[in-house]
Amino acid sequence: MNWLRSNLFNNVFNSSVTVLLGTLLLYALTQAWGWAIGQAVWVADAEQCHAARGTGACWGVVAEKYRIIIFGRYPFEEQWRPLLATLLLMALLLASCMRVFWQRWFAAVWVVVLTVFFILMHGGVLGLATVTTDQWGGLPLTILLASMSVLGAFPLGILLALGRMSDLPVIRSLCTVYIELIRGVPLISVLFMASFLFPLFMPEGTSIDVLVRVLVAMVLFAAAYLAEVIRGGLQAIPRGQYEAAVSLGMGYWLMQRKIILPQALATVVPGIMNNFISTFKDTSLVTIVSLYELTGSLDLAVNSDPDWMAYKLEGYLFIALIYFVFCFSLSRYSQWVERQVNRGKVH
């Protein structure tokens, strides 16, 4: 009773807000519940879905099309391969989140798992049929793009940030120009560059895989933003730390590796994690340069089939849920990491 009074009804204004919001919320929630759960059709039955149109959701579209939504254009009989590969990669990512595995030898595990991932996806060896990268799609592609961009952008971002903070004027201006140039343009124009211009950049006769081109573009883009985040951390390091390192006779790289970067990176953990989350969301843009990751593979699954075309919204909601689960857990995880790295600090 007391709780209610202090949180919802402590004065006339608040009480009216509560009543108004409560009514609206109740109405919206019952409507949404009725549509999404109560009246919804859960089986892949086009007739039932048609009958429920307007009153209930048709989750049957997900039940019917989930394999195309999740795996895109990957050959149907071979889809156990992306499934296994994705599970492996996700297990690796999950393990990387745990403190026990923050060890040097774990890098070797990464190399092994990524190799297995590519062998499984691409095939061509061990009796697996070759599946070219233009047939990769859906969730495996989304996760691959996200993790590889992060993996590539991190070292590049650190180098760019160090370059921008460097005492050497030429290096500093080169890094500054690069960072500002990339941050000034939308990702989509960088992706257009990857799809239209990268082929022109290479020596005549060589062609690079579209997946690699897009990946390079994502890395170049994410690194510029990450560099700015890391620079913030570098600027927060007191001068005394540099001076102490130099007076111990440390060279530039040793100083950065042992003294400056560990502290700088720890202070900007939230920023780094935010960058990872945006990179994950940004992978959805590759659908515009026709790589069929989750968003693109949904179009693929639904657009061609007149029976199910009408239930695209349910499909969108389904993949929105997938994205949400990933991004939300990443942001929760980021808060945990923040606590971990600040544990040693005396406040």
């Binding site: 290096i171 257009f192 239209f196 969108y316 929105a320």
Partner: protein, 318 residues
């Protein structure tokens, strides 16, 4: 005597020289490859094509545009559309974002929870997906213009959003809606998506800005007898503004850059017109250069303006 390569200054210059050489070599190599490739594939280069007639229609424009007009006017029309989306988007997202951010400090737990839920949901779903969903909702689920019922003179239908404008009230006419101001479904979906997505970020910026104002400030305000609204208006927000402006600038820039996702819902912004032009003329280098130059200019202008505003809001030390 110390060998010259042991000297830190000399080494610094050597490194820089090497870096410069490397970058120059890369650029020359890429340019050379590009020219060679263009020659082999018979791609013409140069910005001369901008004067040729574009030959494609643009579904909406701020100024009259016809397909017989040259490419540079098509690009200009696209730029106008981009700016329209960016300016309106920034205005509405600021309003919504500030309301949501302030709402996080409400004494009412229902309101507080609602603002938090909003932020968590819309921040964690890719903007592109949200745009596609809004567009789908508008063109599939809304009633047709013929069946639409007005609400306070506002029509919301498959034909977009029609609003009364200074006494010019929209009315149904034939298959469509006439009068008032009409936002096309594409533009409406883009605006809705940009505003709702960016507001979730602005809400967080406003929240942390207000949280950064020391407690003593609003306690002092209360003890002076200011109401909660007055405290917020005269004490907390002005001080929070200094923390808020730099990240807010970033969000404005992000919104402007994100408006390029218009290409996914078919709104003719600069990027989608450049895309069409690339497909028609094959001048990828030039068109992408135009996109990048325009966005860079916009970014620099916005940064400059917000920098000026930031200096105005900064603490005046006397």
């Amino acid at each position: 005597m110390m060998a010259f390569w042991r000297n830190q200054k000399t080494r610094g210059w050597l490194y820089q020289f090497a870096a410069l050489l490397l970058v120059a070599a890369c650029i020359v190599w890429l340019a050379d490859n590009t020219l060679e490739n263009m020659r082999v594939r018979g791609i013409q280069s140069g910005f001369g094509f901008l004067a040729q007639p574009a030959g494609f229609d643009i579904s909406e424009s701020l100024f009259a545009y016809e397909s017989t007009q040259p490419y540079w006017q098509a690009f200009l029309t696209g730029l106008g559309n981009t700016l329209k989306a960016a300016v309106l988007g920034i205005i509405f997202t600021t309003i919504l974002g500030v309301l949501l951010g302030v709402g996080r400090f409400s004494h009412n737990i229902l309101l507080r929870g609602l603002c938090l839920t909003y932020v968590e949901i819309f921040r964690n779903i890719p903007l592109l997906l949200q745009l596609l969903m809004w567009y789908l909702v508008i063109v599939e689920l809304l009633p047709t213009a013929r069946e639409a019922e007005p609400f306070l003179g506002i029509y919301l239908s498959k034909a977009g959003l029609s609003l009364p404008w200074f006494g010019d009230v929209p009315v149904k006419a034939g298959f469509g809606i006439k009068g008032g101001v009409t936002l096309s479904p594409e533009f409406f979906a883009l605006l809705l998506g940009l505003v709702i997505y960016t507001a979730s970020y602005i809400a967080e910026i406003v929240r942390s800005g207000i949280a950064s104002v020391p407690r003593g400030q609003h306690e002092a305000a209360y003890s002076l007898g200011l109401s909660r609204a007055q405290t917020l208006r005269f004490i907390q927000l002005p001080q929070a503004l200094r923390v808020i402006i730099p990240p807010l600038t970033n969000q404005y820039l992000n919104l402007t850059k994100n408006s390029s996702l218009a290409v996914a819902v078919g709104y003719p912004d600069l990027v989608s017109i450049a895309n069409t032009s690339i497909n028609q003329t094959g001048r990828a280098v030039e068109c992408i250069a135009v996109i990048m130059a325009v966005y860079l200019t916009l970014s620099l202008l916005t940064s400059a303006f917000m920098g000026w505003y930031n200096r105005r809001a900064a603490i005046k030390e006397r």
